[in-house]
């Protein structure tokens, strides 16, 4: 339309710093996790899956918490600032992907250690339900309508999910405890960690959290620009209608 050029960068010094920290710690996780750390006494090399599985699971749960908190902030803030809504949406998008990765790496790990891809363990079941609930949340965000309607609806859905998840977790817990011995997870799978293992896991958690923060910040800015584009398009449409009405008059 016009030849005016804008600053094409979305990154800021903060996101660059977070991104650099993420890359550095990810490199540590790959090198440390695959080569430096020792085998586990019981699990052997399978324990190496832990260094990515545990951090992705942590990020998935963190994303759910961020979405819930941002939704509550949107509902409670007097101004209903759209920034909260965009953070909630961005965090949910990242959370869905990390939750799917958690389930994938977890089931592969489970195949090695328990001999089965899936077990009806409360933690597994709750994670699976979180994934489905989140997919539903994103579907609600895609329903259309005004920005405010989208924000209000999805905030309510996010808070209803906060009610739902503990109920799901508790009922699966009660179900398993009544019908079976304690879950496979707390069986013989205990990992005795030495210093390098613990450090690598910790670096993994930090690295994945930085990745999550970087993704949410960038995604939130993309969403902000999409909303801004909508407003610009509205301005153009208003001008067009103004021309139309003066022509018809």
């Amino acid at each position: 339309m016009n030849v005016q050029t804008f600053n094409a960068r979305v990154a800021t010094p903060t996101t660059r710093l977070v991104g650099a920290m993420a890359i550095a710690s990810m490199a540590w996780v790959v090198l440390g996790g695959l080569f430096v750390t020792p085998k586990d006494v019981d699990q052997g090399d399978a324990v190496r899956i832990m260094y990515v599985h545990v951090p992705t699971a942590w990020v998935a749960y963190l994303a759910f918490i961020v979405t819930a908190v941002a939704s509550a902030c949107w509902l409670l803030s007097r101004k209903h600032s759209m920034g909260f809504d965009r953070v909630a949406g961005a965090s949910a998008e990242v959370g869905v992907i990390f939750m799917a990765m958690t389930l994938l790496s977890g089931s592969l790990w489970g195949r090695i250690t328990w001999g089965a891809f899936w077990a009806w363990d409360p933690r597994l079941t709750t994670t699976a339900f979180l994934l489905v609930t989140y997919i539903g949340y994103l579907a609600v965000r895609g329903l259309g309508g005004s920005l405010e309607q989208r924000a209000r609806r999805s905030a309510v859905i996010a808070l209803l999910a906060v009610l739902e998840i503990p109920l799901v977790h508790f009922s699966v817990l009660l179900w398993r405890s009544l019908h079976q011995n304690a879950s496979v997870l707390s069986g013989d799978g205990d990992i005795k960690m030495d210093g390098s293992m613990l450090t690598t896991l910790l670096v993994g958690v930090i690295g994945f959290t930085c990745t999550f923060a970087w993704l949410v910040m960038h995604r939130q800015r993309v969403l902000a620009m999409q909303d801004a584009m909508e407003m610009t398009q509205l301005d153009a449409a208003l001008r067009e209608r103004a021309n139309e009405s003066s022509r018809l008059k």
Partner: protein, 212 residues
């Protein structure tokens, strides 16, 4: 005399499209204002915005003294909207439909019976299910529901559509009567001759703006 509808440069977006583009209109109490204009000009959106159904994106809008940018809820019980849809329950009879709305405002059975009689939908006809009625009968039933709700501001979208001449006369009489009782009326209609005779003032809606 007080101002009932006051829109100043109001923008209302419907499906991403500015259906109302900086529209300004002022309506005093007791007026019957005819909105005329081609399809897609924004008449229906203006009426729905007046009912507090659609958010005001920019500009100012107040109805019955309530600022719609702040509060779209409290004005609603005081306005009656007859849109393209009739808002009727197809499986219920006329009488039951009218009674449902009457219950909501605490109107008595006597009032319901009187309203039904005035609309010529009493007796055996009132025992018919709405789905068995003609388009004109449904329209009359929807108007009857509006009357029992005793709204202060009437927003009528094509009230004459699908009605025969005598039914149109009846509706005009009802609108005049409501107006004499203090109600304010906004009508969107393609029946220009008839509506001009009824209206105290007419304005054009062109491309999302109101032109007097």
């Amino acid at each position: 005399m007080s101002t009932v509808v006051d829109f100043r440069d109001a923008v209302v977006v419907f499906n991403g499209f500015p259906a109302l583009a900086e529209a300004s209109i002022e309506v005093q109490q007791g007026e019957i204002v005819l909105l005329q204009g081609p399809n897609g000009a924004g008449k229906t959106t203006l009426l729905r915005a007046c009912a507090g159904l659609l958010p005001i994106v920019r500009g100012e809008a107040s109805v019955l003294g309530v600022d719609l940018c702040v509060d779209r809820q409290s004005v609603r019980p005081r306005v009656g909207l007859l849109g393209h849809a009739n808002g009727l329950f197809a499986d219920l009879t006329i009488g039951e439909n009218v009674l449902f709305w009457a219950q909501m405002v605490g109107a008595s059975n006597v009032e319901v019976a009187a309203t039904l009689q005035r609309f010529g939908i009493d007796g055996r006809l009132s025992q018919q299910k709405v789905m068995q009625l003609s388009a004109g009968q449904k329209r009359r039933c929807a108007l009857a529901c509006l009357v029992v709700r005793r709204a202060e501001l009437w927003l009528l979208d094509e009230p004459h559509a699908g009605l025969d001449a005598s039914a149109r006369d009846e509706i005009d009489a009802i609108i005049r009567e409501a107006c004499a009782a203090g109600a304010t009326v906004l009508i969107a209609s393609h029946e220009l001759e008839r509506a001009r005779g009824l209206a105290t003032r007419s304005v054009s809606v062109v491309a999302g703006r109101v032109v007097s």
